[in-house]
């Protein structure tokens, strides 16, 4: 795979993020849900908009796992989505956009440019 150019955006400090939960990041006009999976020491970012009823709510969802797959459940109707791939795990044909995350010097960065596959 060819390395695509990235476009890191400083989202917040590590201590602003919620342990084992999500926060919503404003990135221009976009809303991105940022999850700090402290238990696994992993970070994930997805769109904040739940594709089910178009609610800006995923950052307020509960995170957890299905088997090994990290996931988030939307607070509205509990549809679940893989944090790794964005795929809907509740059998619906909708998926979340996911974004790369990195942490450097206590700052969390998100790359908001959609990955091209």
């Amino acid at each position: 795979m060819i390395e695509t150019t990235t476009n890191w955006f400083a989202a917040c400090r590590v201590e602003d993020a919620v342990e084992n939960g999500g926060v919503c990041v404003k990135c221009g006009d976009e809303q991105i849900a940022l999850f700090y999976f402290t238990r696994r020491n992993e970070w994930y970012a997805t769109q904040n908009l739940c594709p089910h009823r178009k609610q800006m709510a995923l950052s307020r969802g509960m995170i957890g796992s299905a088997g090994e797959e990290p996931k988030v459940a939307c607070p509205f109707h509990k549809k679940t989505f893989s944090l790794a791939t964005g795929e809907c795990l509740s059998g619906d044909e909708c998926a979340l956009q996911t974004y790369p995350v990195k942490v450097e010097n206590g700052i969390v960065y998100i790359d908001p440019t959609p990955k091209s596959y």
Partner: protein, 837 residues
């Protein structure tokens, strides 16, 4: 290998299912689909949900890139206009010409529109496609009175949709002397009619429509009997007409009354051309349901793959009416009578239930029947007909339930043969489901759905799937417990005990000690609720905050659009004028919608996340506290004015209600629970519909328990009589602690009691006669919980770390969510509707 071309005309439900089936069976075909509608195949069966907020995308049968990924060419918005059978090509409206080796006609049907003068007027619609529904919705916005022509299955569904669109009047006009004439008898129709009238529909039977009046747009309907009805819009639902025009044009045989004639392989008079779904005429029948359509798709996919020799042999037309708010089902032969059958009828006009079963004259087999008002037995009865199961000695039990004798719930399932079709949409048998459980280790409904596809169509078979799954697991020697989820192989009660024994205080500790993996949306709120019930710690303490259900995490119920509601506690429903003014001022300041709730208090809706702490700060300063409207906890204790004002009041029910509400406020339980105190047997506080309710008597208080309103109302049962106040509270302490320590998650007290062996007698022994010897411990525990109560909103607004979480953007805490939208209604705001695409 050379790929053969299969051209499919029609991208409806059956055409799509055919593509799915053929694509999984073989790769030796190139599939080309032509669809007339502008969007890819969608779920027509659930079309009406478009009005309840489902978008076209939600209703889609596949992802937008599915056809591409399967290498299927899809031409939408491009109807085929000609078939050239000699050269084996089809020509589309946009000028494409494509060769075929096999041609599949899946053109469905259209609404039958009777030839009534004026039918072309504006405001007259049919109910078949998303486009139709869009037009209806737009037109309904300026209409007040609507009518549906046709009182069949679809007509009633359309009528419900018009009601949901908030028309002031909705009429159903039926030519026949009864509703759903093809499915139910006149006694059933009678019952259904009175129930629908209660729902607000006006039903007109025996009405032939002679003309549609109005200048350009419809203004009224004229009937053969000379009467007239003024309406602003009309939806025609008078039956379906198979789309056979293309076949007819190309010289393929069609029936005299329409439909493309097919044999048992779904072959038309041209053996290279097949017809499936609602356009096909098999043995003089058009099958206007989805399950037979899917079966036809299977037959053709098999045939052209040269797979097993599968034929179509007709199909059961049993149906259940959905959506309308009244259960209606008919199965097998609903009308057969003496001397070919005997009928058993049960009619209860009080509760609006009508049931009829027809059994063979020898009493051995079930032949068919009708269920109205309560169709819970539908699946099992249908299976009993289809599989010719020998009936019990007393067939009346089929509709009345076993009385006296013990018949376990699963007895029915075990008697089903392996070939019994459980999911008729996807054609999945009992054996397939049981094997998936035994051999493929599917031990959840989701796993079963993925593996067998059962339950993914209309979903009606899911309860039966679950029973089969549990039953098979038991047979395989698996100790079936209601374990919490994949992360905890324990029941709620086991977890409750273990958390206490191990003295665990945080979700993460519980998971590390007793579970595995990273938790999920099922175990997190459940464990959080247990921790709260046992220790009564502030629920948002660090480490427990993100394990709360979203409503608990933000101490408010999330509503449509992402705003929250605010419900301060108003114990017993008693409030001073000063406090009323405070609520009014706060609501005004933060622009909140206000409503008196059904629980005797005031709800303020539409609060932005970041305003919640500010709102509560002001309310708390004026002496309010959290009403726990968001928690699985005590809601309200309703009261009537009682002896303080009422001339019948025996005791002071308000004071007692307040005492009770203040004792149990904030107490976390498996589900929410409610109470009420009435000052006399007139029962104005409706105490007998509550989890526990109290009614004053000459000598004291009567205590009732385990009542429920909601979707399955149940009256509370009398636990003890003529109690003094303190004893009454003692009993309630015990009752609640028993409930909290033993009930399954999300089980209200009524359901808990229904599952309890020994029922109310047993409960009385435990609570009143202390048969478990737990009374003293429970009373002490409850006293500790009551002493440690603290308003969690107060704790939250005083803690900067918690307050920080009440902002929408982590990197712009002062900004509100710009996507939140409100509409206006009756001088207040309301949440904007779900976004429709």
């Amino acid at each position: 290998m050379e790929q053969k071309n299969v051209v499919i005309i029609g991208n409806g439900m059956v055409g799509h299912k055919f593509c799915e089936k053929l694509a999984t069976k073989s790769t030796s075909f190139r599939l080309i689909v032509f669809g007339e509608e502008p969007i890819r195949a969608y779920d027509r069966v659930h079309l009406s949900e478009y009005f309840n907020g489902k978008s076209a995308e939600d209703l889609s049968l596949c992802a937008s890139d599915w056809y591409k990924n399967q290498n299927i060419t899809l031409h939408l918005n491009d109807p085929v206009k000609e078939i050239d059978r000699i050269n084996k090509t089809v020509h589309s409206s946009r000028g494409l010409t494509v060769n075929y080796d096999y041609l599949i006609l899946a053109t469905g049907s259209s609404a039958f529109v009777p030839d009534i003068p004026g039918i072309e007027k504006e405001g007259v619609f049919v109910y078949r496609t998303i486009e139709d529904l869009k037009l209806i919705r737009n037109y309904a916005a300026s209409a007040k009175k609507g009518a549906v022509l046709g009182g069949g299955l679809l007509g009633l569904e359309a009528a419900k949709a018009l009601m949901d669109l908030q028309l002031h009047e909705t009429h159903v006009i039926e030519f026949a002397p009864r509703l759903m004439p093809r499915q139910i008898d006149s006694a059933g129709s009678h019952m259904l009619q009175s129930m629908l009238t209660d729902l607000g529909l006006s039903i007109h039977l025996n009405k032939g429509t002679s003309s549609i009046e109005g200048v350009d747009r419809i203004e009224s309907l004229k009937f053969n009997d000379g009467s007239e009805l003024s309406v602003d819009m009309l939806v025609i639902s008078a039956g379906i007409r198979p789309r056979d025009e293309l076949a007819r044009l190309s010289g393929i045989d069609v029936g005299t009354r329409g439909g493309i004639m097919v044999n048992e392989y779904m072959q038309t008079s041209d053996p290279g051309i097949f017809a499936i779904g609602e356009c096909a005429l098999f043995d003089h029948n058009i099958y206007g349901l989805i399950a037979p359509g899917y079966e036809m798709a299977e037959v053709v996919a098999n045939k052209i793959c040269e797979g097993t020799d599968r034929t179509f042999n007709g199909f059961d037309m049993s149906t259940k009416l959905k959506l309308i708010g009244v259960d209606v089902a008919s199965f097998g032969d609903p009308f057969i009578t003496e001397p070919d059958a005997r009928t058993i009828v049960f009619e209860d006009t009080h509760n609006g239930v009508y049931k009829r079963v027809n059994i063979s004259s020898d009493g051995r087999y079930l032949l068919g029947g009708i269920l109205i008002g309560d169709a819970e037995a539908f699946n099992m009865l249908l299976q009993t007909v289809n599989n010719k199961i020998i009936l019990p000695a007393n067939p009346a039990d089929l509709i009345l339930g076993a009385r006296g004798g013990a018949q376990s719930e699963t007895a029915g399932i075990t008697s089903l043969p392996d070939e019994a079709l459980i999911c008729s949409c996807e054609g999945v048998t009992k054996a397939t489901i049981c094997n998936a459980v035994s051999d493929d280790g599917c031990e959840t409904i989701d796993a079963l759905k993925k593996c067998t596809k059962a339950g993914t169509g209309c979903g009606g078979c899911v309860p039966m799937m679950k029973d089969l799954m549990l039953h098979t697991m038991k047979l395989n020697g698996k100790y079936v417990r209601d374990v919490v989820c994949e992360h905890f192989q324990l029941s709620r009660q086991e977890l409750y005990d273990l958390i206490k024994i191990h003295n665990l205080k945080k979700y993460e500790q519980v998971l590390d000690t007793l579970g595995k993996g990273d938790g999920c949306e099922v175990c997190k709120p459940m464990v959080s609720s247990l921790l709260a019930s046992i220790w009564n710690d502030m629920i948002l303490k660090k480490g427990n905050d993100t394990a709360q259900d979203s409503n608990d995490r933000f101490l408010a119920n999330i509503q449509k659009g992402g705003t929250y509601s605010v419900v301060p506690r108003i114990p017993g429903g008693e409030i001073t004028p000063e406090k009323l003014i405070v609520i009014g001022q706060v609501a005004k300041k933060y622009n909140l919608y206000t409503k008196i709730t059904g629980g005797q208090r005031i709800d303020m809706f539409g609060a932005h996340l970041s305003d919640l702490p500010l709102i509560w700060e002001e309310l708390i300063a004026e002496g309010f506290e959290s009403g726990h409207a968001y928690g699985k906890a005590l809601r309200t204790v309703k009261s009537c004015v009682g002896s303080t004002w009422c001339r019948f009041g025996l005791h002071d029910s308000v004071t007692f209600a307040i005492r009770i509400e203040e004792r149990y406020r904030g107490l976390r339980a498996p589900h929410k629970f409610k109470s009420a105190v009435s000052g006399c047997i007139r029962e104005c506080a409706e105490a007998q519909s509550k989890d526990f309710g109290i009614i004053a008597t000459e000598k004291g208080w009567n205590l009732y328990v385990c009542g429920n309103g909601g979707s399955k109302p149940q009256h509370a049962l009398l636990l003890a009589t003529d109690l003094d106040g303190d004893t009454c509270i003692q009993y309630i302490d015990r009752f609640l602690m028993f409930y909290i320590s033993t009930a399954d998650p999300l089980t209200r007290t009524a359901t808990w009691l229904n599952k309890m062996e020994g029922g109310i007698e047993y409960l009385r022994n435990v609570v009143v006669y202390n048969s478990l010897g737990m009374a003293a411990q429970w009373e002490t525990e409850m006293q500790i919980l009551a002493n440690t109560y603290e308003c969690e909103w107060k704790a939250a607004v005083e803690d900067p770390a918690i307050r920080k979480r009440f902002s929408h953007f982590v990197n712009a805490p002062e900004e509100k969510d710009p996507t939140v939208k409100f509409d206006e209604m009756r001088g207040q705001k309301k949440a904007a509707d779900w976004t429709l695409v």
